[in-house]
Symmetry: C2
Amino acid sequence: MSDLLKRLRGRGWRMTAQRRVVAEVLDGEHVHLTADEVLARATTRLPEISRATVYNALGELVTLGEVLEIADGRARRYDPNAHRPHQHLTCSVCGDIRDVHPAGDPLAALPASERYGFVVSGVEITYRGLCPTCAGT
Amino acid sequence: MSDLLKRLRGRGWRMTAQRRVVAEVLDGEHVHLTADEVLARATTRLPEISRATVYNALGELVTLGEVLEIADGRARRYDPNAHRPHQHLTCSVCGDIRDVHPAGDPLAALPASERYGFVVSGVEITYRGLCPTCAGT
DNA sequence: TTTACTGCAAACCGTTTGCAGTTCC
DNA sequence: GGAACTGCAAACGGTTTGCAGTAAA
């Protein structure tokens, strides 16, 4: 069983065929699907699943903190890798997204003198570039 | 005259009353307006300006590289501070956004071993926290 | 049995587009 | 004069919502 599914069951998330399929589709490394992509993949396993149900499930997973939402371009993407701090590396041409892991604490890069009195609690970092295929090297 | 307007004129951007107002509304420090906010402010100066014209102008300013687009929440925001590398510091409660300036080169934080063969050319960083008002301190 | 989830379809919101009319250079 | 911009209104794509029916616990 997928890690995500295991965690959700452990947290008493009410399970249905639809929710199971959404969780299974999302599980894995470097997964950053849009709601539409989740729906498409879920539909191959459970043809009667509806768009609204996919959105409902995704919204709850985000609220539970089991999935992260990334507001990259038009459509939001959903990232199941919520339990290990990481950043994103995106190809500007094909849109491929990889998870990358920081060396130190990225919050340390913002000195108090640049904080405008804010209480800073997190940081989102997206590196942009070209993947090996699109760079043509 | 605003800096932005000066630069645009220097680049031969065809000037109209509408475009001038959009550029004036955007000019300044820590400005991160949505298209709707730009339209609202522009309308107070030029009541007959249309939504489409605002979108047209914003799109061109982004293409010219004179304004940056930030895909924060639902609506995109437009940042005229395009000529000095910077990052954003956002209040999770009220949505206020400040520009902050990096100490070193943030690209250096991503080691080659974490680049998956990508040619990395840029990075977007958003710090999240609470502004002094919302933190209630 | 009760509470919560599902599917449908319409509504919603930010953004884009086609086109006739107008303006800048 | 001619190319480019403007305003209108309709279309669009992603997301949200209301509600009647269904299924999990």
